[in-house]
């Protein structure tokens, strides 16, 4: 029994090392002087020069701020819209409710690339090219997040809402004082998933950001990559700047991430 257990964890550990090694190597490479970047060795002397250069000389601090603005605003707004809609779908009645819900759900079958051209044209009509609005607004209707919150709210007992209503609380008050606090775990999950989605919404941001000052981190990385194909250490510093926030967020709130992402899959 002990022997099989050893081999079991030996295989699993080996596979885990293969999975995570690229990120370890990214970190190591980013701490090396450019001349040593691709050598198969640990850095002789750790240097933060690449980060200084990538953040200030190549202005990734600016792209980081842009990414933060876009991802944070998008996450807040799309979570709010999803929660409001989910509350009505789970607990209220209105005409065409089921049809509308089914209609929203079916849109998840359509690959995102199909929307790109018309969305771009609409954003163009709104004069939102090269603006935060253009990056944020078209992706605020997150059907998957709305679905997750709806499923959660359906299990809330109606009696809670009824007693508040009898006490004379307004609908908006019931939503903010009762529904949101009770649904906080799933709302946090959807918020994190939205943040992650917009942090990585690379292709769309590439189309909308026309001037350098509007680049987000992945857009900046794409531009830097095509201009400096051989600058491996700098590329890895930029990649770390892009990946680290999501890695940290994941390890802080891993339960929310994993349950949120897989719950949808299990329930479909």
């Amino acid at each position: 029994m002990k022997r099989t257990s050893f081999w079991r964890y030996f295989i699993v550990t080996l596979l885990l090392i293969v999975c995570l090694f690229p990120f370890f190597w990214m970190l190591i490479t980013s701490l090396k002087p450019e001349g040593e970047a691709l050598l198969l060795s640990l850095p002789k002397k750790i240097t933060f020069e690449n980060y200084r250069k990538i953040l200030f000389q190549y202005r990734f601090y600016r792209y980081f701020i842009n990414s933060l603005i876009v991802a944070l605003t998008s996450a807040i707004l799309s979570t709010l819209l999803a929660s409001l809609a989910a509350y009505a779908f789970a607990k209220k009645e209105f005409p065409f409710k089921n049809f509308l819900f089914w209609f929203f759900m079916s849109s998840m079958m359509v690959p995102g690339l199909l929307y790109v051209i018309p969305q771009f044209l609409i954003v163009y009509q709104f004069r939102w090219i090269n603006r935060y609005e253009g990056m944020i607004v078209p992706h605020l209707a997150n059907v998957f997040g709305m679905f997750l919150i709806t499923q959660f709210l359906k299990d809330l007992p109606d009696s809670l809402l009824e007693s508040a209503r009898i006490d004379g609380a307004s609908e908006l008050k019931i939503f903010t004082k009762i529904v949101v606090p009770l649904a906080l775990p799933i709302i946090a999950t959807v918020f994190l998933l939205n943040f992650q989605f917009h942090w990585a919404n690379f292709l769309w941001q590439l189309l909308i950001a026309q001037t350098e000052s509007m680049y987000t981190v992945p857009v900046g990385l794409a531009m830097f990559k095509s201009a400096h194909e051989e600058a491996y250490a700098l590329k890895m510093a930029a990649s770390t700047v892009s990946l680290l926030p999501i890695m940290v967020l994941f390890f802080i709130a891993q339960r929310y991430f994993i349950e949120g992402i897989t719950q949808g899959a299990v329930k479909e």
Binding site: A88, Q119, I122
Partner: protein, 297 residues
């Protein structure tokens, strides 16, 4: 009553508005555009010329399109089985609610939440030629040409290299799904199998695997959709290259259908791009439906 149901609808209104303007309308406008040629980009809503099915015919006759569909198919046919095999293996090895197993599952899951484009960029230092990590580790076994170009610069290995990178990024997702599915199998069934003397591989193929088939179907269907819309990872790692000569024309060895579509979008061939996206949507749906029919039988 009418008043209260209107008030109820107000909760759904903001979401619905965004959905109609930025998802529903774009869907139909893309369909509309696929029958037109845009003659003047300065006013895209006015200067359109109806061309009937010509955009569709252009795409269907384009060797580059046909090859890109084949490449997406190849990508899916390599990635999906590998992903399923590794995920279910890991789920079986890490079965049970031990703290250490949960830790492992979490660590495997981590790359799944990262940006595919940036992860692709990170993998380029693993796959690079001459000074790259893998070519140097494997140097004695590699032909000189592969050593020089690296795995992404060689038409025979580029696709496989992307498959491995993306598979390793995604296995945590499959593992967690299979773990949940395995936990749902009642212990009685496994005990019955043990009494019947079924063990090891036989038990797995006769009992365990059929009982988690929902998860497998889910991974296959999302895998097919993913393969036909994959773009960022190829953009980051190969740029659609390297060039190969097929059917008498130069084609990208990893220019999958998502990349083909992106090129039309980037070159502002809007009608043709829209026709391409609908052809890909039809293809994806058709393959998914055929697959689920086959599974049911």
């Amino acid at each position: 009553m009418g008043k209260s149901s209107f008030r109820n609808f107000l909760f759904v209104l903001p979401f619905t508005l965004i959905f109609f303007v930025f998802l529903l309308f774009p869907f139909f406008y893309a369909l509309y555009l696929s029958f037109f040629k845009v003659t003047d980009l300065s006013n895209i809503f006015a200067n359109l010329r109806f061309v009937g099915l010509r955009n569709y015919l252009y795409v269907l006759k384009d060797k580059e399109f046909l090859y890109s569909v084949w490449l997406s198919l190849k990508y899916g046919l390599m990635l999906i089985p590998l992903n399923i095999f590794l995920s279910i293996t890991l789920a079986l090895l890490l079965k049970g609610d031990l703290k250490i197993n949960r830790l492992y599952r979490t660590l495997f899951f981590m790359p799944f939440v990262l940006d595919a484009f940036v992860v692709g960029v990170v993998w380029t230092i693993m796959y690079a030629g001459r000074y790259g990590l893998l070519v140097n580790l494997l140097k004695p076994m590699l032909p000189a040409s592969l050593y020089n170009t690296g795995f992404l610069g060689n038409p025979n290995t580029a696709m496989l290299a992307v498959v491995v990178a993306i598979c390793l990024k995604n296995i945590g997702f499959g593992t967690v799904l299979y773990t949940a599915a395995l936990n749902n199998i009642s212990p009685d069934i496994e005990d019955a199998a043990k009494i019947d003397g079924a063990s090891g591989l036989k038990k797995f193929f006769k009992i365990t695997f059929p009982l988690v088939s929902h998860t497998t179907t889910f991974l296959v269907i999302t895998g097919i959709i993913g393969a036909f819309s994959a773009f960022s990872e190829f953009f980051a790692m190969t740029g659609g290259g390297p060039i190969v000569y097929k059917w008498g024309v130069p084609l990208g060895a990893t220019k999958v259908s998502g990349y083909y579509l992106y090129n039309h979008i980037a070159n502002l061939r809007l009608g043709i791009a829209s026709a391409t996206s609908f052809l890909l949507l039809i293809l994806t749906l058709a393959i998914s439906i055929i697959y689920s029919r086959l599974v049911r039988e």
